[in-house]
Amino acid sequence: MSDRDVVISARAVSKRFGSGPNAVLALDDVSVDIYQNEFFTMLGPSGCGKTTLLRLIGGFEQASSGEIALEGKALNNLPPFKRPINTVFQSYALFPHLTVRENVTFGLEMQNMPKRDANCRADEMLELVRLAEFGDRQPSQLSGGQQQRIALARALAPAPKVLLLDEPLSALDLKLRKEMQIELKRLQTETGITFIFVTHDQEEALAMSDRIAVMKSGKILQIGTPRDIYETPTHRFVADFIGDSNFLQGDIHQNGNDANNTILALPGGQTISLAGVAENPSRSAQQTSATIAIRPERIILAPQGSSETALRGTIDDVVYFGTDTTYHIRLDDQTRLLTRVQNRDGATMPFARGDDVDVTLPAAAIRVLVD
């Protein structure tokens, strides 16, 4: 199988909870393809529908409309125990009355694997998650991080086509979480199983994923590599949710007769040239008002007077963060911008509070967004 074979495909999937006026639309006409051997992350705030989509794939909920298919075969009416898909639950859900090994062999025995083979496979899995010597313990004797690994071993043991992970790292402390991120990525690469990971932690999503789907209010706003999502967000929500962004709102005008030279006129009178700024395919070209975004580290600061086209501003505040320094800038029309400069040369800080600066927003760094 090539890397680009679709494993899970969702077509126009909606999920409604409740009925009548109290109905909640948890998923709103979502379509997505998830590929073989991919670490796919669904990222969004709580209530965005990411867990609902995961539970639909797992078979724990039924879609109100639309279809979910596994390798081209519709899954809709299959109960969870008939889907070659396993889940790592947020609470781990280890069986407390069984030993660690019995937990790992549970799925294998339910698939009628002989006990001896199942135990063999369980030991292999425990080896894989580096808890080989813990087979005879009870889950309650393990730490949170260890329970997490057992949950992984248990879900991976039956060699599912897809592994679903429902915010599995949220209960761990920061250091352990970082370790487990690397561990998860390693397990995904070693097993070659498609991982579908749900999280509200953007850093986690960026660090581990091959592709990320950013979700809001039951819809997928953007799907792309971590780099796509960070560098070329399509929606204001995406740019805001992932990393820091400066947002500027204004009207788009054509500058003179030159069709290629559009400008964004800010309410305060300053203009920003949008010449060379990439089109946003998700945005309707007819709209005249627009929000643009630029990442703080992409803004170029220079002493005032060095550029004709730059915006003019004053440094309001300087915050030193060790690896970089952030400058809070107030433009002449009172718009505030955040910029970040890496401290490459050690302690020297080029600007001080109160300095007047020229602010350049490079066209390549500007994104025109859907609000």
Partner: protein, 264 residues
């Protein structure tokens, strides 16, 4: 007993004598009954010497043994039926949100609150209306009804303490509904089920009012038999039977309590 002096309750004067009085009030009569059951004298309230003769008199009394047998049959039957019903009810209630859920929950536990005499009269009336012959069967049916809430509560408490993701995890790992129940739900639930069953049995064994109303000839239970004996006067025999029942109750309640403490 270790007393935690940091508890602000100890700042109230007289709390210790109050507590002693309270426990004496609760248990002194029972202790007196236990002591008097070993009294040699024919008159139950005059102590003349130690003897276990009344226990052997009781155990030779064939009427009493028949009453005990009735109580046992009624208790076991009501317990089994009530526990099965309560287990199903608890699983249904714990699993899903549905319309009228709180109403059903209230109805399940209502028998705990309705005055027993009302239940007894209503049940008797009902049996007469539908033409059920009063006897063992009618008592078993009536006992089953009031045993259900007692069995339901510990089972429900167990279920509520259980992560609902456990069942999903079992389903996720290829266990169908029945396998998930057998391999996960039941092993985690059985202490609650057993605890509920023991409680039901004791409640049934102890019941007087309802048994008295809906019983018939040949269905005399132990409490009714004791009541009949007492009408003649309190004899050492009554003390001995009561002591035996007390011991059985204590054993069952203790086991039920210990089982309920099992945690994984």
């Amino acid at each position: 007993m270790k007393i935690d002096r940091t508890n602000p309750i100890w700042r109230f004067h007289g709390i210790t004598p109050m507590a002693i009085f309270f426990f004496a009030y609760l248990y002194l009569p029972i202790i007196v009954l236990l002591v008097l059951s070993f009294n040699e004298n024919r008159l139950a309230t005059i102590w003349t010497g130690f003897s276990t003769q009344w226990y052997s008199v009781v155990l030779d009394n064939s009427d009493m043994l028949r009453a005990a047998q009735n109580s046992l049959v009624i208790g076991l039957s009501a317990t089994v039926i009530a526990t099965i019903a309560a287990t199903l009810a608890a699983m249904g209630m714990a699993r899903g949100r549905f319309r009228g859920e709180s109403g059903v929950a209230a109805m399940l536990t209502l028998p705990l609150l309705v005055p027993e005499i009302v239940t007894a009269i209503a049940t008797l009336l009902f049996f007469i209306v539908i033409g059920v012959k009063l006897g063992l069967i009618s008592i078993i049916a009536a006992h089953t009804v009031f045993c259900i809430p007692f069995a339901y509560l510990p089972i429900r408490a167990r279920l509520d303490g259980m992560d609902p993701a456990l069942i999903e995890a079992a389903n996720d790992l290829y266990a169908n509904e029945w396998q998930a129940f057998k391999r996960v739900t039941f092993p985690l639930l059985w202490p609650g089920i057993l605890s509920g069953a023991m409680l039901s049995f004791i409640i049934s064994l102890d019941d007087f009012v309802i048994s008295y109303f809906v019983g018939g000839a040949g269905s005399t239970t132990l409490p009714i038999y004791i009541f009949g004996m007492i009408r003649i006067g309190i004899t050492p025999e009554v003390n001995a039977i009561s002591a035996l029942m007390l011991i059985i109750s204590i054993i069952f309640v203790s086991i039920s309590f210990l089982i309920d403490r099992i945690r994984y």
